[in-house]
Each structure stands twice: as structure tokens, then as C-alpha cells.
């Protein structure tokens, strides 16, 4: 059979199993009007082990043929109503039995003319009386085997066809994916080119004022009023450029995963006030009114005040930029159970629907033509989103329903990360990150089961201790193999793995895990520690199956906020209650000891 199965390797194992191929009995139909003869055929053929079906007339034979799948028909030529030749012709003329093997048995003298008549009517062979049992048996056996092989071949053919279709579909899908990837890459490239053109424009415009005025100043002939104006203009444009450069650096840090938060107790209302102060001159220049409504009882949050102010300033300057002269920008701060909600509303033209899905993407602007009425690099919102997510929060944009304009809403968790660095030394940048704050977040990973994989014992112990202090239940593994062993019996809520391990590294581990079914941990949210955090590494990590990464050396505040963000998005994706993240104690209790 193997020689017929034209497919290499595995294919031979599929299709018709060897056992069935040789042993599967087929149906043999015996047709004779004399019961005695039928009995003797039966006796002769019994050894073959096939199913023998008897028919005592042509009519009965036809009925049996329709009822069963017959391999061979043995027909007596001499029968009263319908003789053997006629029956063979009838059988052959039916499309279903076009290829059925028919053996004619003739009791009278058989000469070549009789044989020819038999072949013409569709018989494949001829047996004359007296029957030699061995010959009859051999002939029937050959045709039975032929039938079996034909059947096997049909099955294999079907299988082959199915596989060809399957492969074709796979190839087509692959082609489509490749095509899509190519288009995406082209689009990204085009966006980058556009971005570079805009960047050059945005840097040269203030540079022009700086060099121009500096030139005039150095000529030394300006009257005092113009002199003052020149200096002011140079300052203003140098600051404008500094802001562009700092946005560019932020984006570079975001892309390479090097942006760090300096966490402390942040008083959000005063952060908003500071942000309002920065945009007030621009708003006043356009006669745009800034309204700030603050709900009572807004607690402090654990966050980086400078970065939070940057988020709010970006949103505000964006709103002022798009609000027409004489318009209004409204800022609201409200507190819900476990989070602060900041809303910035403008009454500009709103966000075009085709731009809305990409509003927080880098290098995207509503308009990149020379008629862009709105200046800037279009990085502000991308940076804002990243900073908010680093705080374990979320940001969304939509058009207002009540009137024209856009609304941006930032949600920040109240109980954020705040712990001293891992080495125990208090960070000079985070004077408020002290034990009091730590206590409040000490149980916020309660009921979260974390599988920690790191080959370096010291690093592993420190991280494990930190996670445990936050209330997590930690399972430790010193290698990828250990981790897989644990996964055989446990289903953690989160995987935290070092990338650089000898032998099987973090990449190998996550790839194996991602092939597992969901109920065996295949979709466990995964976080990577890595010393290499270039854009390329980051892409590689995500492609391999990690969800987030934290650069080494690991800083607890960052670790916490990344875990919080990860658990939050994982629970959102699952529609299950969060088992981790900066949530209030009351919410934790909803999972109540059950780790999902």
C-alpha cells in the first residue's frame, strides 16, 4: 500500500490503516437459481473470509447489489428468467456498478465465442463447470483484493485532496499575512517619512526666529524695545524647541522601554493647577476660557507628579490648540470607588472618525499636509497614553455628544505603587515613597498567584520577597524546565520570567507556554525581565508571546505598575474579575481566595 500512498512520511500513517487494508472483508454476491450450487460456492469460498451474499435470481441479485457494496458478483449463466449474460449487461449499465467485477459460471461447453459474449456483457472473467475450487477461489480472491485496493486508493485520494486544499488554504493565508505585513511596514515607513518632514519643519521654524534675531542682536543696532522683543522671541522659540526635543527623547525612551516613573504621593488637583498654568498663556492668546471643576474629597494617588503634569499639559494644550478663538476648554476631576477620573473637553472641530482609532499612535496626525493649521509633532497624545498606562490607568478619546468638540478621559487608580527600591536604599527622587505608602499597597496583589522564573538565586529571592510583600503567592523556578514542571500541576495568574537564562532562555519558555491550551496556562499573562530593551528586543519579546517587559535592574515601583497594568488588561480581556493590580481592598474580595 505504501507504494500507492504517494505522500512522503507522515501521510503513510494516515488514510487507511494497514490492518484494515488487508483484513477488511468485502461482499461477494453469488447468483444461481439452484440452491445446491449456491451452497457449494459458499463452501469453496468460505476460506477467503469475505462476506458471502446469496441470490437465487437475477431480480434478487439486483436488489442485493443496490443494498450492499459488492466487490465481486459470481453469476451462473443458465438461469430461467434472466440469464447470466443479460444480468451482467444490466449490472454493467448501471453507473454505480460500472466497474464491479463479474465472474460468469457456465455449465455448458464454453468456446471463445461464448467467452467473447461474456466479456461483451461486462464480465471480467469466466469459469467453466466442472469448477476447480482452487481456481474459483483464486479468481474471486484477486478481484476482492482489487476492490479493496481501489477502495483504499479512493480514501487516500480523498485524503490527498483534502490535504492539498488545506495546504493551499494555509499558503493563501500565509500569503495574505505576508502581504498585510508588507503593507503595514510600508505604511509605517510612510508615516515615518511624513513624521521626519514634519519634524524638520517644526524644528526649523523656531530655529529661524532664533538665528534671525540672534543675528540682528549681534549687529548691535537694536533700540531697547526691539532688543527686549528679540530676546523674548529667542527664549520663547528655544523653549519651543526644547519641548520638541524632550518629546522626541520621551518617545525614544518609551520605544526602548527606558522611561521610568519617580513615584510619590501625588496631589492631582495641584498637578492640574500646574498644568493649567503652563497652557494659560496660549489660551489667553486665543481668548480660550479654561474651566476647572473639582469634586470634593479627592484623595492623593501614588504617581509621578511631573509625568502626570506632562499628561495633563499635553491634553490641555491639545484642547487649546483645537478650540477656536473665544471657545472654552473644560477640565473635570472626579473620584469613583477606586479611581480618579480626569476629563478634558474642548469645543473644537472634534476628531475626524478616520483619525479616532489612531489618535494615540506615534507619528500620526490628523493632517500632515502643508495646510495643517495645527502645529506640533503629534507625539503628545502618544506620550500621554504611555504615561497613563505606566500609572496603571487608561486613557480614551471620543467626540462629544452634546455639542461639537472632543473629550479625553483619563482614569487613574487611587491605590498605586509606592515602595522603596529593591536594594533597600531610599530613592532621593521619591522622598514620599516610604513605609506608610507601602503599607497601603502591601496587600494589593493578594490572591494573585505568580510563577517567577530566574536562574540567578539572589535576584529571584529579592523579586519573590517583593511580590510576597505585595500579597502575592509566589512559585519560584530556577530554569525554564522547572517552570514547565510547575505548570504541569499549577495554573498561575501571572508569569514573570527572566529572559537571559543559560540553555533554554525566556524566549524558549514563553514559546512553549503559548502552545499550551488556555486551561493549561497557554494564555497566562507574561512579563519579561531583560537587560536588553531596544525597540528590536521589545518587538521580539512581544512576538515570542510576552505581554510586557521590565528592564533590569528591576525597580519595584515600575514592576508594580507594569504588573498592575498587565493584570488589569488581562482581566478585561477575560471578562473575569481582576486578580491583581492597584485596586481597592473591597474589590479584591470579589475573587475571595479563588484564583482564576
Amino acid at each position: 500500500m505504501a507504494s500507492i500512498a504517494m505522500l512522503p512520511g507522515e501521510e503513510q500513517d494516515k488514510g487507511v490503516p494497514e490492518s484494515e487494508r488487508s483484513e477488511r472483508p468485502v461482499n461477494i454476491l453469488l447468483v444461481d437459481d439452484q440452491p445446491g450450487k449456491l451452497l457449494s460456492y459458499e463452501a469453496i469460498l468460505a476460506d477467503l473470509g469475505e462476506n458471502l451474499i446469496k441470490a437465487s435470481s437475477g431480480k434478487e441479485a439486483l436488489e442485493q447489489l443496490l443494498k450492499h457494496d459488492i466487490a465481486v458478483v459470481l453469476i451462473d449463466v443458465c438461469m430461467p428468467d434472466l440469464d447470466g449474460f443479460e444480468l451482467a449487461t444490466m449490472i454493467r449499465s448501471h453507473p454505480r456498478f460500472h466497474k464491479t467485477a463479474i465472474i460468469l459460471v457456465s455449465g455448458v461447453m464454453v468456446d471463445d465465442r461464448d467467452r467473447l459474449r461474456g466479456y461483451d456483457s461486462g464480465a471480467v472473467d469466466y469459469v467453466s463447470v466442472p469448477i476447480v475450487p482452487g481456481i474459483l477461489r483464486a479468481k474471486v480472491a484477486i478481484f476482492a483484493e482489487l476492490f479493496r485496493k481501489t477502495q483504499d486508493l479512493a480514501v487516500l485520494n480523498q485524503e490527498l485532496e483534502r490535504r492539498v486544499l488545506e495546504r493551499t488554504a494555509e499558503m493563501e493565508a500565509l500569503l495574505k499575512t505576508t502581504e498585510e505585513a508588507r503593507r503595514d511596514a510600508e505604511k509605517a515607513n510612510q508615516l515615518k517619512d511624513e513624521f521626519l518632514a514634519i519634524l524638520s519643519h517644526e524644528l526649523r521654524t523656531p530655529l529661524n526666529a532664533i538665528t534671525g534675531w540672534a543675528h540682528l542682536l549681534s549687529a548691535g543696532k537694536l533700540d531697547p524695545a526691539t532688543h527686549a522683543k528679540a530676546v523674548e522671541s529667542i527664549n520663547r522659540n528655544a523653549l519651543l524647541q526644547a519641548r520638541l526635543v524632550s518629546d522626541l527623547l520621551d518617545v525614544s525612551r518609551i520605544v526602548s522601554g527606558r522611561l521610568r516613573l519617580e513615584l510619590r504621593q501625588a496631589d492631582v488637583p495641584s498637578v492640574i493647577q500646574a498644568a493649567l498654568d503652563t497652557v494659560r498663556p496660549a489660551a489667553q492668546a486665543k481668548s480660550v476660557q479654561l474651566d476647572f471643576a473639582l469634586a470634593n474629597d479627592i484623595g492623593k494617588i501614588n504617581g509621578d507628579p511631573t509625568r502626570l503634569q506632562q499628561v495633563i499639559s499635553n491634553l490641555l494644550s491639545n484642547a487649546v490648540k483645537f478650540t477656536p478663538a473665544g471657545g472654552k476648554v473644560e477640565v473635570r476631576l472626579e473620584r469613583s470607588d477606586s479611581s480618579l477620573e480626569l476629563t478634558v473637553m474642548d469645543n473644537g472641530p472634534g476628531i475626524p472618525p478616520e483619525v479616532l482609532p489612531y489618535i494615540f499612535e506615534r507619528f500620526r496626525q490628523g493632517d500632515s499636509s502643508t495646510t495643517r493649521a495645527h502645529k506640533g509633532l503629534g507625539l503628545g497624545l502618544a506620550i500621554a497614553r504611555h504615561l497613563v498606562e505606566m500609572h496603571g490607568g487608561a486613557i480614551e478619546a471620543r467626540n462629544r455628544e452634546d455639542r461639537q468638540g472632543a473629550t479625553f478621559r483619563v482614569t487613574l487608580p487611587v491605590c498605586g505603587p509606592a515602595v522603596p527600591p529593591l536594594d533597600g536604599a531610599s530613592s532621593p527622587d521619591a522622598p514620599a515613597a516610604r513605609s506608610a505608602d507601602f503599607e497601603s499597597s502591601a496587600s494589593s496583589l493578594k490572591n494573585t498567584r505568580i510563577l517567577l522564573v530566574d536562574d540567578e538565586a539572589d535576584a529571584r529571592e529579592v523579586v519573590a520577597a517583593t511580590l510576597e510583600r505585595w500579597g502575592a503567592e509566589v512559585m519560584v523556578a530556577a530554569s525554564a524546565a522547572d517552570a514547565r514542571d510547575i505548570l504541569e500541576r499549577e495554573l498561575p495568574d501571572l508569569l514573570v520570567a527572566d529572559i537571559e537564562m543559560p540553555g533554554e532562555d525566556g524566549y524558549d519558555l514563553i514559546r512553549t507556554i503559548r502552545t499550551l491550551p488556555p486551561d493549561r496556562g497557554g494564555r497566562t499573562p507574561a512579563l519579561a525581565f531583560t537587560a536588553y530593551a531596544s525597540a528590536y528586543d521589545r518587538t521580539r519579546l512581544l512576538a515570542a508571546g510576552f505581554d510586557r517587559h521590565v528592564p533590569k535592574p528591576v525597580q519595584p515601583p515600575e514592576l508594580f505598575s507594569v504588573i498592575a497594568a498587565l493584570m488589569k488588561s488581562a482581566s478585561k480581556a477575560d471578562g473575569r474579575p481582576a486578580t491583581g493590580g492597584p485596586q481597592e481592598e473591597s474589590e479584591w474580595k470579589t475573587t475571595d481566595g479563588t484564583s482564576s
Binding site: A197, S200, H201, E202, R204, T205, P206, L207, N208, A209, I210, T211, G212, W213, H215, L216, K221, T226, K229, A230, S233, R236, N237, S369, T370, T371, R372, A373
Partner: protein
Amino acid sequence: MENHGRHIFIVDDFKDNREMYAYFLSEQGFRVTEASDGEEAVAKASQLQPDLIVMDLSLPGIDGLEATRRLKAGEKTRHIPVVILTAYDIATAAPEGCEGFLTKPCLPDQMISEINRVLAHHREGGAVSHATSA
């Protein structure tokens, strides 16, 4: 002074740049008027009949390219030479029909020499050629 009384019309939406050039050109004896967008530029050029227009390309509303097209299509404005001043690449930005071209950052002296070159050429020949300086 040679420049005396020559009327230069500066179109730029970035106030700091517009003011800097306006100051310097006035110092050099030019008469200067300003506009900050394309619509305003087209309307005022027809009415003021300046000797030369310095046109920024990136403008709100109609941009410098479109404004230049309209100026060059208008009976009353097509004779006025236009010097493009842009922070974009020349390759992507050179419009049809302009007489001069400057790239930001552009020092005030560079602007004066381009203005004088275009004005001299314009006075001599009258026919406008696409200046490919810069």
C-alpha cells in the same frame, strides 16, 4: 538707499518670524506689510499691489502653494514676484510660478539678497523665470 520705498509683503503664520523679518526689512528701507494666512494674503496682495511677496508655505486655511497659484492666476496679481520661504525641503515644496526660493532657517541678510536678486531680474526682463537658487 536703493530699497527705499520698495514694498515687501510678508506672509507667515508664525508671528516671531514675521516680526523679525518685518523689523529687519523696515530697517533696510523697505516698506513692509504682513499677513498670517493664505486667504488674507491673496486679498491684500490684489489691493496693496506690493513690489514683492515673501510667502511661507505652511499656512492655515489655504496654504502657500495654493495662495501662490491664485496670485499667479489673478489678473491684478500675476505680475508680482513671489519668493517662497519654507521650513520644508525644497524638493517637496517648490511651487510653479514663483520667482525665488528660501529655506528656513534663513538669515535676514540672505532674505535681502534674494529679494534684491528677484527685484533686479524682474526690473530687467519682466519675464519671470523659476529661480532655482538655494
